[in-house]
């Protein structure tokens, strides 16, 4: 799902749920929206961490000196 719940409208978020086939109830939708928004904030924190750690040069994705990329 490429939609970012942080910037979506309520209608767009409902559409996204429908496209995913989730029959979320009226009281579940706002909770799911809050959870998805919070999750996107956390994913954004990871990108900031990686940039601060110098682990992600733009477009390059690390240095060969970092060694194998798998964990």
């Amino acid at each position: 799902m490429t939609m970012d719940p942080r910037t979506a409208t309520e209608a767009a978020f409902r559409d996204a749920l429908a496209r995913l086939g989730f029959p979320a109830s009226d009281d579940e939708q706002p909770e799911l929206w809050r959870m998805a928004t919070d999750l996107q904030e956390q994913a954004a924190e990871l990108r900031r961490f990686l940039e601060d750690a110098g682990a992600r040069a733009p477009f390059v994705g690390g240095s060969p000196a970092d060694g194998p990329r798998s964990t």
């Binding site: 979320a24 998805a36 999750l39 996107q40 990871l46 990686l50 682990a55 990329r69 964990t71």
Partner: protein
Amino acid sequence: MSDDAALWFGSIAELGARYRAGELSPVAVTGAFLERVRRLDGRLHAFITVADAQAMVDAGTAESRLRRGDPSPLLGIPLAVKDNIATRGIRTTGNSRVLEDWIPDSDAVVVDRLRAAGAVILGKTNLNELGWSIPSDDDLCPPARNPWNPEYAAIGSSSGSGAAVAAGMVVAALGTDGGGSVRLPAGQMGLIGVKPTHGAVSSAGSLSAGSTIGDIGILARCVDDARIVTGALLAHEASPIGDGAARPGRDRIDGVRVGVPRRFIDQVPVEREVAEAFEAALTVLRRLGAVVTDVDPTGLAAARTANFVSLIAEHYAAHETFLPRHWTRYGRSARLYLAHGAFLSAADYLAARETGRVVRAEIDRILEEVELIATPVSPVVTAEAARKPGAHRRGINASFTAPFNLTGHPGVSVPCGIGETGLPIGFQLVGRYHAEAAVLDVARAYEQTTEWHRLRPQLDARGRRS
């Protein structure tokens, strides 16, 4: 036998010695443990399925092997298995209505290994639905209670495994740990909890198979028991864990360097009694000769977040096709926790994995300076505090455990105190890859000079606090 505390809370070695002395038999002991489960579990909800008939068959087999002089330490030892690990012929539900009728036709690798070692599987233990939700009374099986004070929930997700071992309904149990789900209940129920090095124990046949962060772990009442069960499971030859027998010098930890990530611990909202118990544990380690110093690895907070993102992405991927078709068969909490994973992108997931690579390198560097890292297990004592939705959604309760799921290092929870609620508190030791034996050595040295692992929950005959 029905009031034999030495039996309910005996160690593997003690029970094995009584078998081999002819004082007890696996069939009689299994029958007695099953009766104890029947008496206590109406209150504690540790088990989802009790496998009476199969357990008695297994006990009979163990008895025959004992008569033939088989030396396996696990012969006839009553164990339990978390209900997200497949057991042949025994219902495996994940505490979800999605799987409520699933009877696997083969055992998970770990169950196969326990059976081969002669263990008796008494049944399948309770968990947060699919190991991933906030428990509710509407779950297939209601939440497990903490035997130390049944007014409180047992923390999860291996809540039933912890409750069963703590209450003396089995000697040890298997759990799964994707963010702390073995170490957290172990800490809160006065047990040893082992999360092995990632991948060292096969997860094939469990619902966490294929996870980059989850592992099958062990809950036991003492280090020696944990060592025996872990040894039966470990597949990796680089982890010679031993059989639990005393080894010369193992209780001496003079000069062992233990690092405390003080700055990170101070950033987490740790409850006062947890902080005090942790400092007291460090004092004991110093008294035993360990050199305790502060270390400052970067990225532990990011690792906690990245583990959470990985957990959500991987759980969603596992349920992607089933979730929309069977929405209401999942519990409310489970379906929402799964569904919000749909809003992560591939790039989000890869950022989480990349964070794991970066922080693993940092922890490996720290573990060249010191041999072990020590932290509290959980920042809070009660499951109720851990499950506050805002904190739970950000993995705050798993601040000290989840980073090492992401990095893959082995971690062990060790009892170190009792809180005002009557619930135990644990601290965690983390070691180098495949250094489970070294971590358990230090845990044992600590255990043998403290009394925490000798304390037992005070329960009446029906599982109420007495």
